[in-house]
């Protein structure tokens, strides 16, 4: 077998390409010119398999891509940039503030992030399917007002049920407009943002809602309870994340979501029911909003008509920082979780350091752009855009 180095310029026998290449054990990163695309890729694949068979260390290196024959730091950044940013932020804040690195602070940040986080999980699925959901903020206000207002009137369980039905109804409207009628999701959910806000105000007459007897209702469990020392909102957030990660990667529904987001027409030609799938993605988003509303209502034990105002953008920012493409077809629940936590810890860290709230906005600006830039830059193999 000719080695990859000396065969390049020569007119070699036709069997060369068809024959299997010997796996390259673990060559140095840049092992000379490699004329055949498949070859290096095959080697990469083989290397991957070899590593999976190895121990924890090897696995870790494989995760970071350190073992691949065409290793480069840009690739590491591409794959794990957000994780790196997260680690850097954590280390930085720990050094700068002695209050930062504590169990109490961590659990309080996690608890605070869980509402945005739970919403972001659902919207991630919508985004992977190639759509947007800007109505989640208004929907959160609506569901929270409902659950809090009805809590005293009809009891916690029926209140939660009614709020669930209302949220799902909103999701169904979104799903119908985007899925069945195929309208542009940005504009549709923008319209719904406004309309649901209106419904909320009409329902509540503009009044705040409060739960009178805050101390002895089991409803307090969702926002204030703990299981084994961990706050329930955090458990809900992580639990939902695990479930939705499984939905995305372990079910055919998840496969359909990715297929539609990657190329809707190809998915339809493959017999995937686009209408149904998109419809369900909005239902999932609405369901997550309902969960967030329950946590919110229970945590605050009251609600305003505008509690969720602007949350849609925070949610979107977290998802974007997590690296999902707004064009659809890519994204990961786990990365969205990290995106949410990164923004949560930045907010917390800056507050602990005593910065003004607007610093947080400036930092968010920089983080969003740098995170996404590194991500797309690494994916295309160079930092600057091809339009330069």
């Amino acid at each position: 077998m000719p080695s990859s180095d000396d065969s390049s310029g020569e007119l070699t026998s036709g069997t060369r390409r068809a024959a299997a290449q010997p796996p390259r054990a673990s060559g140095p990163p840049e092992a000379g010119p490699d004329p055949v695309h498949q070859q290096s890729q095959e080697a990469l694949h083989e290397a991957e398999e070899a590593v999976v068979a190895g121990g924890i260390g090897a696995r870790f290196r494989a995760l970071l891509g350190l073992d691949s024959p065409d290793f480069s730091w840009t690739k590491v950044l591409a794959k794990q940039g957000i994780l790196l940013a997260f680690v850097i932020a954590m280390v930085g804040f720990s050094l700068a503030s002695d209050r930062f690195l504590s169990f109490d602070n961590f659990s309080s940040v996690l608890r605070q992030s869980s509402i945005i986080g739970i919403m972001a999980l659902g919207v991630t699925i919508v985004v992977i399917s190639g759509n947007l959901d800007l109505s989640v903020g208004s929907m959160l206000s609506f569901a929270t007002i409902l659950v809090v207002d009805l809590h005293d009137k009809i009891g916690p369980a029926p209140a939660m049920a009614v709020a669930l039905v209302a949220a799902l109804a909103c999701g169904a409207i979104n799903g119908t407009l985007v899925g069945v009628l195929r309208l542009n999701s940005l504009i549709v959910t923008l319209g719904m943002l406004s309309a649901i806000q209106g419904f909320t105000l009409i329902y509540s007459g503009g009044q705040n809602a409060d739960i009178t007897n805050q101390s002895d209702t089991w409803f307090a469990f969702f926002g204030r309870g703990e299981i084994a020392g961990i706050a329930v909102p955090i458990l809900l957030f992580l639990g939902l994340a695990i479930i939705l990660e499984w939905v995305l990667h372990g079910t055919t529904f998840g496969r359909r979501i990715f297929a539609i987001g990657s190329k809707a027409s190809a998915a339809e030609y493959s017999g995937i029911n686009r209408v149904k799938t998109v419809f369900f993605s909005y239902l999932i988003s609405a369901f997550c909003v309902w969960c967030a509303a329950v946590v919110m209502g229970s945590r605050v034990m009251g609600s305003q008509n505008t509690v969720g105002k602007g949350y849609e953008l925070l949610v979107l920012a977290a998802i974007i920082v997590g690296g999902a493409s707004l064009l659809g077809g890519s994204g990961k629940i786990s990365k969205t979780v990290i995106g949410v936590l990164l923004l949560g810890f930045i907010q917390n860290g800056l507050l602990l350091l005593g910065f003004s709230y607007w610093t947080q906005w400036l930092v968010t600006w920089v983080v969003i752009i740098v995170a996404v830039w590194l991500d797309v830059g690494a994916r295309r193999g160079r930092l600057l855009s091809p339009y330069a």
Partner: protein
């Protein structure tokens, strides 16, 4: 007749505009009145001036979510710069100096967005979503949360002034708005830059191959949008004689809504200034008419949201009908 029909099929926004005008004329007292139409023009002008630039950027296939924040920043600069020491000895001319500073600030921020879109290749939605959050931060850093007031009443007098045109006194801002509509319309339809805007949005690869420098081209459109947003900041602050750090919240959403109502494709490559104008005018008329009819605030949200979706559905129906008509064997 056929021409008529196909015109409205292709550009349903005009039909919509006429429909709501007729509706409010019939049902809203004081609506059908020259002076009220002048009012509507002024009310449309802030969103409208931004929408002109937004149309260019959206035909390019991009978007800008940060216009509301840029508007606030420019308005703040406009008001604050009048009292800068360097303009102190200029007297009333300080307003002109501040005007240039405001436009410059708008172009700088718009340009920054454009530059990032050009150089990083990050999706414009993301770049400007970040900017929307960050530039609002800049506004608060600048103002330290305070509102600013222009000491010189001349400034707000300019904003409130009218130009006598025959028997009518037409508000200066309305005239400025209409002139800008005409100018940007000509820019888009008659100039090389304008035509290239369609090429860049419609088929970026073809544009690159044809030697259009796509990145700088997008940059220029962001610059124009920034400048126009700055101008909108100036006209808005001159109506108030003041600027507040929360100015322009949600404006990006309404501007984009107006432009989309006007038929501009979010994917780029297709759109028109005149129709964006009609889109923005529709929003202004709806708001004005509902004020006149005293529709309760809570219902206004629902109605505006509902109409946005309804128009989208209508547009879809019409365009599929158009396809069916042209497909007839």
């Amino acid at each position: 007749m056929d021409k008529f029909k196909s015109f409205f099929l292709e550009q349903p926004i005009w039909a919509f505009l006429i429909a709501i005008t007729v509706f409010f004329s019939l049902f809203a007292p004081n609506f059908f009145d020259i002076q009220n139409f002048e009012n509507i023009l002024i009310q449309a002008s802030t969103l409208g001036i931004i929408a002109l630039g937004m149309t260019l950027v959206m035909i390019n296939g991009n978007i800008d979510l940060s216009v509301g924040a840029i508007l606030a920043f420019c308005a703040v600069v406009m008001v604050d710069a009048q009292s800068w020491p360097i303009f102190a000895q200029l007297g009333d001319w300080a307003i002109l100096g501040a005007f240039f500073m405001a436009i410059l600030a708008g172009m700088a921020l718009g340009g920054l967005n454009g530059f990032l879109v050009w150089k990083t290749g990050v999706n414009a939605f993301i770049v400007t979503l970040g900017a929307m959050i960050g530039i609002r931060g800049l506004v608060f850093v600048y103002t330290q949360e305070q509102s600013l007031f222009a000491m010189n009443f001349l400034f707000s007098d300019i904003g409130m002034s009218s130009v006598p045109l025959g028997p009518l006194a037409v508000p200066t801002i309305a005239i400025l708005f209409l002139v800008l509509v005409a100018l940007v319309h000509l820019l888009l339809t008659r100039t090389v830059h304008g035509r290239n805007t369609f090429a860049v949005g419609g088929n970026p690869e073809a544009a690159v191959n044809a030697g259009i420098r796509v990145g700088p081209h997008m940059f220029v459109n962001y610059l124009i949008l920034g400048g126009l947003t700055g101008l909108a900041g100036v006209t808005l602050s001159s109506q108030m004689g003041a600027a507040t750090p929360n100015l322009g919240r949600d404006y990006e959403l309404w501007v984009i809504t107006g432009v989309v109502l006007g038929g501009t494709k979010l994917a780029g490559g297709y759109g028109s200034i005149l129709r964006s104008f009609a889109g923005i005018l529709s929003i202004a008329i709806l708001r004005n008419g509902m004020n006149m009819m005293q529709v309760q605030a809570f219902y206004v949200y629902v109605i505006l949201g509902g109409i946005l979706i309804a128009v989208l559905i209508l547009d879809k129906q019409l365009s599929s009908r158009k396809v069916r008509l042209s497909e007839q064997v």
